[in-house]
Symmetry: C2
Subunit: 525 residues, 2 copies
């Protein structure tokens, strides 16, 4: 297998030298209708990735296919899930797909079958959650736990939180909400204070999540909570479990009711599928719902194996993104889910993408001569329409867009106003925005003119359920992975977060000079 930089690939040269497509031209008129019908890739769970409004045509698609082939992208994916050392920086395997349990060979490390390891943790968590839900496990007064609070930061927070919020209302109306979940993440003391304020701590179960058992923010918030429990006359050990690595100080620790394990082969931002997401989501919704979610993800992993970009949504989405970044020169991508339940999904994708691919060196540590991961931001539609869409429509900087929408609402409660339900209005807005961005509108008054030509794709699903959410999450995980392969970077380390940590420790130790000493004074540290 070759691991070449993007600018060493012949197919990339060809791509750069091809006449770009004007989205406005190809989407206006009857050609547009044909594109919308044809430029669509089926995804699992009845979803589809539609890329009609992207700046591609059959010729460019053929070149993207050649790029995928020359870069051996699907072979690299297979190498990853079959246990090759893909995280070259930290010399680690990358195994989050194995949590979904249905892909590739067994991977054995130091005598441990990793698929079995992950599955075992899922079963242990399921058993624990069932005991909590049935009332077999109780607090010190023999009363059931009613609420679960995750204490973690970064990947231990954003992914599980986004997924919890995405399913909370679905669970309420489907009688699947076993325990309400809350999250404490920030070292800002007001974060923990606010969650604890008025909380029924007596009936709360806290999950302390830190792989190393040394994450400063998380340990601090853990101590914050233990303090609060003691002040309430409760035994912290009866209210806290740990999700950590087997070698961490939090494992086999009497301060916790139980501990569930993760390992070094799943990075924080990919850990919604590991014990990190499993514990809080199984407690909140029950193990069956979590299993459905993983199954949805597994199906997306399966379709991501297809070497044909026209049949592999994650691969195609990745390559179009590379084309937009490295040929068309766009810095930013907006993720715009038309679903209020996905309110924090863009924040999770922001981490997933920017932490994975915000790199300047290739997998061997050599600087690359091309741009890599884009800046990601987003908010749910229709809210965004009344906010930053002004710039997206008429600003000087073009931002490629990634829409997501569902035909049905989650809660099924709706109202007919002016002849249509809110859900139909929501879907009408996605459709309208895609066409408005692509086709624009002429006007004699330049202030009312829309140039169009602003590319977007849309993922269309039936309904946001545990399974379709799993598919959606895995789609983006696999997209980001494929982009990392294309850029020949290591998407699985994050050296860029280290320097800040080191300097913060120096400030707290009063070991500062120069600018750092003065900032430290200004904040009266």
């Amino acid at each position: 297998m070759n691991w070449k930089n993007l600018d060493e690939l012949k197919a990339f040269d060809a791509l750069k030298n091809t006449e770009p497509v004007n989205v406005r031209d190809v989407m206006t008129g009857s050609n547009g209708a044909d594109r919308v019908k044809n430029y669509s890739v089926p995804m699992a769970e009845g979803m589809a990735y539609n890329y009609a409004a992207k700046a591609v045509d059959d010729k460019i698609l053929d070149q993207l296919q050649a790029l995928a082939d020359e870069a051996e992208l699907t072979q690299k994916y297979a190498a990853l899930y079959n246990g090759e050392v893909i995280n070259t920086g930290e010399k680690r395997l990358v195994l989050h797909h194995l949590c979904r349990s249905q892909l590739g060979k067994d991977v054995v490390v130091d005598g441990v079958n990793k698929r079995e390891f992950y599955t075992t943790q899922q079963h242990r968590i399921a058993e624990f959650a069932n005991k909590v839900h049935s009332g077999e496990l109780t607090n010190e007064k023999g009363e059931p736990y009613k609420i679960v609070v995750q204490i973690g930061i970064g990947g231990s927070d954003l992914g599980p939180r986004a997924i919890y919020l995405a399913l909370e209302n679905w669970a309420k109306v489907n009688n699947k909400l076993k325990m309400e979940a809350k999250f404490i993440s920030n070292v800002d003391p007001d974060d923990a204070s606010a969650v604890l304020y008025g909380l029924d701590v007596e009936h709360a179960l806290f999950i302390l999540v830190s792989k190393s058992g040394t994450t400063l923010e998380t340990l601090t918030n853990g101590a914050f909570v233990q303090d609060a429990l003691k002040k309430a006359g409760l035994d912290p050990a009866k209210h806290m479990i740990a999700v950590t690595s087997e070698t961490s100080p939090l494992a086999k620790n009497e301060g916790f009711m139980d501990a569930f394990y993760m390992d070094d082969y799943i990075g924080g931002r990919y850990s919604t599928s590991s014990a990190v997401g499993c514990a809080v989501l199984s407690l909140a919704f029950g193990p069956d719902v979590y299993a459905d979610f993983l199954n949805g993800a597994a199906k997306a992993d399966e379709t991501a194996k297809d070497p044909d970009i026209r049949k592999n949504a994650a691969l195609l989405d990745a390559l179009i993104g590379v084309y937009e970044r490295n040929v068309l020169g766009y810095d930013t991508t907006a993720v715009l889910p038309y679903s209020q339940a996905l309110s924090r999904f863009p924040a999770h994708l922001q981490q997933l993408d920017m932490e994975s691919n915000g790199k300047s060196v290739n997998r061997y540590g050599d600087p690359v001569n091309y741009v890599t991961g884009p800046i990601i931001f987003g908010e749910p539609g229709t809210n965004g329409q009344h906010s930053f869409y002004q710039l997206l429509h008429q600003g000087k900087t073009i931002v490629p867009l990634q829409f997501v929408g569902f035909k049905e609402s989650q809660m099924g409660n709706d109202v007919v106003i002016e002849g249509s339900t809110s859900q139909k209005k929501l879907c009408a807005n996605v459709s309208a925005q895609i066409v408005a961005f692509a086709c624009g509108k002429d006007d004699d008054n330049p202030n009312k003119r829309f140039d169009g030509g602003r590319p977007s794709s849309v993922i269309i699903g039936e309904k946001l359920t545990p399974a379709s959410l799993g598919t959606l999450l895995a789609h983006f995980e696999n997209k980001v992975m494929y982009q990392g392969f294309t850029w020949n970077i290591n998407s699985f380390d994050q050296e860029g977060v280290q320097l800040g940590k080191v300097l913060a420790k120096r400030v707290l130790a009063h070991d500062t000079d120069g600018a750092l000493a003065v900032y430290s004074d200004l904040f009266e540290i």
Copy 2:
């Protein structure tokens, strides 16, 4: 007064032809300490804007001053608050500063003194809120209202919501939380369903906010709520007030307990200071807290008048932003508040900035030949550190940063771990990040190398209170205004949101063809 395009200004030419400053060079070593001490502008409420880590030096600052002078920026600000037609697109005055009541001349339109108009609405709302809080105004059973729910979208949602969240915990510990507030915004039926699910509607007071009284999302959600009230056997008119214009169908309407008025001279994204923010925030926190918030904003408005950029934080922040956008070529700016209470403040600034300055034509409607407003995104630190900061530190694209931090927490509850409080850790992290971004760190391993040279500013405050929050909000409003003046664009209309609305209506009327018809089919509309 001249209204010239940026590229017609001599000072802009001079700026473009000046050697840029390398942030790493000037911030490393003892020079850095001097910069941090000296490059600071006092703001109201004991806050300060520190720009030491920005890519400027005294020469560039002099040129930015010359640019401010040549573009007559502070004169334009005076023209605005004294009632000139600054919104040239819609031929309207721009009067949000008058809500803060302490600036400029009286402005009379059609015989109405607008300052008096805004103040009168504040007094009417204060009186109403006091009656609700005292129990003089009750529901149909004579019981007090306990919760307030704002129904609005865009500016009627993001600003008031961000401000509510910023003060909710402060209010709890200071015994100022009169009523919990919730918000319904999205046309997604799951948004209203989720808020209404399990809500004590019997004791809820809803505020329907729509200037025109015709905003489809808001009217739909209003009907949604009225339905729910009727189903609960309640009289909607005893549970709903309106914030609208005097000529709207919602004014003097028997379906509402009362109506409070706004007008055409305050755009949605500036309406936290108008009746839109006043009603929900006065009901939530009491009129006194809201008055403190407005006073903090008024003080920022006052300092924003100073023609000396070294004494005017809003003006300087604006000009540095223009320099970064139009000379250094950065597309995006990240807003990073080290305060969990400001969790939705970046989303508000995203609207404020991108809807105001995401334009391609000047105030006369002529296309401009330079880039205008940047893309804005952000999340609270320290959370962002464990997420997208990887790209900010080591990615290929430089993103200017805007930090905000406070010396004290809001709730005063804290814990000492490893010799420091969480609040000190929080502040240590801001300080560390600024220096890490600016100075970087060499390493033989390029994967662990930080180039530095990544510019940032920081606003440092004592504590996030109603008054300092008012100052902070007005700072950004005035910054965005000054950037709009510098680019010679109209920051106060939003023609870019219209086309999507028109097309969505066509979809709902089944009046579609081409691509739009097929998308409409795919969503089964």
